[in-house]
């Protein structure tokens, strides 16, 4: 089998992994070496599904001894198997990098023989890259759950970012769908990487040239919609991961039904893309907007309202906290206003040093007045013609786009001329319409909720 065939197979097998960012580390080029890294990350292309292509995302091999039900590479599936040799992979990476196709390598792998053997093969490939080809670009590598801690330590000194995929947001999910994976096996390397980074930070403070351990931090991925886990469960889990494991990112992947199994959504159901989108919005609110997971969803209403974005949803439920005065409000308060993002909040702080702001000025700064006008005053005045009533606010916030994103299956067709009433939107649309699991299955597993992954 030549490299082209291998590339086709091992790319196809890797494509469901969502993380493909090359961010988090700034590293200047050096004479004698090839490459550099930019903290913001660089997208080199975009695939037909609209996702960024930044790294050469491939598997070392798609041979796997595990039989995780949701996975395209599970051992029981009939599919062509192959593996890169460490040299082939290093050559391919260098040649792509030299032509500016990619920002670096994203290396994952099926489990060949056992976790240790697999990890050693992966280390071999990136050692060739770093030491023989003097590659100085970005490397993201997956830690294989169950691998020896010494191997993970070695990997961490070669890579920029490491990740361990949790995949299923609850222990019950893991038990039924990936019986060979244990939560401890996932969380142990994660804890190892965290403490490695912490020790390294203190080493670096003492010795400037101490080798860097996973300088771009670690991330993980959760599959959305393969198990009946609620948004509340998913968001509290990711909040915990950010706080306790100091993760840089938690990625969400809408489950793409690849196999018919009584425990999984039917192969004919569409991936819950809108739910994934809302989860990312919520994730942004937690990471950049000072929200806590509990403010977005709680045990009483464990799932997000898919019809409206979580920030607008929060604002409508907390109308008593508005309006805020643009010329006096703190950065944190400004960030809570729908239509004002991180950039425009910063610009407001900057611009009001030069003089008082009015609505015209806000528009010039890039504030989305169509949304923000319900929640702010400028020099004590409310935007002309605006009535602040929950009903009118909601009407104003639902964009044509929002309505279009609601799948037709949501029951009655929602049209823009016939704006749905408050109660229906705020009450949410039947969850089954958005790729949640059918109710029965939810009930069967409901009892197991308590045994979530404890972090």
């Amino acid at each position: 089998m030549d490299v082209l065939d291998k590339l086709a197979i091992l790319t196809d097998a890797a494509k469901y992994d969502v993380a493909c960012t090359s961010s988090g580390v700034d590293r200047s080029g050096q004479p004698g070496k090839m490459g550099s890294a930019v903290a913001s990350g660089i997208c080199h292309s975009f695939a037909a599904d609209g996702r960024c292509i930044s790294l050469l995302k491939v598997l070392m091999t798609n041979q796997c001894v595990y039989d995780c039900k949701y996975c395209v590479n599970r051992v029981s599936r009939d599919t062509p198997r192959t593996a890169f040799t460490p040299n082939e992979l290093a050559d391919l990476t260098m040649n792509f990098y030299r032509r500016n196709y990619i920002e670096g390598l994203f290396l994952s792998s099926g489990v060949m023989k056992n976790p240790d053997y697999t990890t050693e093969r992966m280390i071999q490939a990136i050692e060739i890259l770093r030491n023989e080809h003097n590659f100085n670009g970005y490397i993201h590598v997956k830690a294989i759950p169950g691998a020896d801690s010494a191997l993970i330590q070695r990997m961490g000194l070669l890579a920029d970012r490491m990740s361990v995929n949790i995949e299923l947001p609850s222990e019950s999910g893991l038990e039924s769908l990936a019986p060979q994976k244990k939560p401890e096996a996932i969380l142990r390397p994660m804890a190892l990487i965290r403490s490695g980074i912490e020790e390294n930070t203190s080493d670096l403070a003492l010795y400037r040239h101490a080798p860097k351990f996973v300088p771009a931090g670690q991330s993980t991925q959760l599959i959305i919609g393969a198990t009946p886990d609620s948004d509340h469960r998913i968001l509290s889990l990711s909040e915990g991961l950010y706080n306790k494991y100091k993760l840089k990112r938690v990625f969400f992947s809408a489950y793409n039904p690849v196999v018919e199994d009584p425990l999984l959504p039917s192969v004919f159901s569409a991936p819950p893309l809108l739910r994934e989108h809302r989860l990312y919005q919520a994730d942004w609110l937690i990471r950049f907007y000072g929200f806590s997971a509990g403010e977005i969803v709680d045990a009483k209403s464990p799932n997000m309202n898919l019809a409206i974005d979580p920030k607008a949803n929060w604002a409508i439920r907390h109308l008593d906290e508005f309006p805020v005065e643009i010329n006096r409000a703190s950065y944190d308060r400004l960030l809570r206003v729908p239509g004002i993002g991180v950039l425009s909040a910063r610009k407001i702080l900057q611009a009001r040093r030069a003089g008082s702001l009015n609505f015209d000025g806000l528009k010039k700064l890039g504030v989305v007045l169509k949304r923000a006008k319900f929640f702010v005053t400028c020099q004590g005045k409310i935007f002309e013609g605006v009535v602040i009533q929950p009903d009118t606010v909601l009407r104003g916030l639902l964009s044509k786009n929002d309505l279009q994103m609601l799948p037709a299956a949501a029951g009655e067709q929602l049209s823009f001329t016939d704006v749905p009433d408050m109660a229906r939107i705020m009450g949410g649309v039947p969850a089954s319409a958005f790729g949640y699991l059918p109710e029965e299955r939810t009930r069967v597993n409901a009892g197991q909720y308590e045994f979530g992954i404890h972090i």
Binding site: V3, L4, L7, A8, T11, D12, A14, K15, Y16, S28, G29, Q30, P31, G32, K33, M34, G35, S36, V38, S40, I42, C43, H44, S45, F46, A47, A48, D49, G50, R51, C52, I53, S54, L56, K57, L92, N95, F96, R98, R99, N100, Y101, E103, A254, N256, A270, P271, L273, K347, Q350, A351, R353, A354, G355, L357, D360, G361, K364, L365
Partner: protein, 250 residues
């Protein structure tokens, strides 16, 4: 200062030349209504004035931008000169005048038309340069990396810094069709120069093989069930596609 509403300054199209326009305006106490490059275009209704580039005068203005506004403003003006905004020179001129008046606080005046427009233009330049850091595709001819681009802004100086840093030991050439300029880098040094035309030989088989490999990867990595060409085009507008390996014919 006297506001001569129909005075046009003509300069040689260099940053130094532009800085001399600022210098002349202050020496002669006059405000031009337009500053343009020499182009042979006739200004029938306006009074035109040719400004000769004097490096000493330019240096005085350049230094005054740091002293009276800020170091950041110096870098900002350099970048503003690379943007493709219409009336670029007069906006820059007005920005410098405001800067002399308000000092470093000029950057806070985001709601002012001049400051707002110029800040936006510079951000647009930086964003385009960032896009090209990813979208530039090198094809290798005899060990030399060659790429052609058609940017709107003059992104070459920004790209030059990035790629020189990334490939210090390579020899590469990036040709900007829009502005007919090129950056040439060799391990010994880097040069940005005018270049009216670039003719390339056919590519060899080894190179073709990598084009095929890359197209295969770019195609395979997409998930069919999530097909979303609109999102793809939002992130990577079609104007970039013509010069990217993955979209070439075959």
């Amino acid at each position: 200062m006297q506001d001569n509403t129909n005075l046009v300054y003509i300069y040689d199209g260099t940053l130094e030349g532009f800085l001399c326009c600022v210098y002349e305006s202050y020496v002669h106490h006059e405000i031009p209504c337009e500053i343009c490059m020499e182009s042979g275009q006739l200004h029938i209704f306006e009074e035109t004035q040719w400004i000769t580039t004097d490096l000493e005068h330019a240096g005085k203005i350049y230094e005054s931008i740091d002293r009276k506004i800020s170091l950041e403003a110096q870098a900002f003006i350099k970048n503003a000169f690379l943007t493709c905004i219409p009336n670029r020179e007069i906006l820059m001129y007005n920005f410098i005048r405001q800067g002399y008046q308000f000092g470093r606080a000029v950057f806070d005046r985001l709601t002012d038309d001049t400051v707002g427009a110029l800040t936006k233009a510079v951000r647009n330049l930086q964003r385009e340069a960032h896009s090209f850091m990813g979208f530039v595709r090198f094809t290798i001819y005899d060990g030399i990396l060659v790429s052609c681009i058609s940017p709107k802004n003059m992104v070459l100086p920004l790209l030059s810094d990035h790629f020189t840093n990334r490939y210090p030991d390579e020899t590469f050439l990036i040709y900007d069709r829009t502005h007919q300029m090129a950056v040439v880098h060799k391990p010994e040094g880097t040069l940005i120069t005018a270049m009216s035309k670039l003719t390339l030989p056919p590519i060899d088989d080894a190179e073709k093989a990598y084009h095929t490999l890359w197209k295969c990867f770019q195609h395979t990595i997409a998930i069919e069930e999530r097909f979303n060409p609109k999102c793809q085009m939002n992130h990577m507008p079609k104007r970039f596609w013509a010069e990217m390996t993955e979209f070439e014919n075959g």
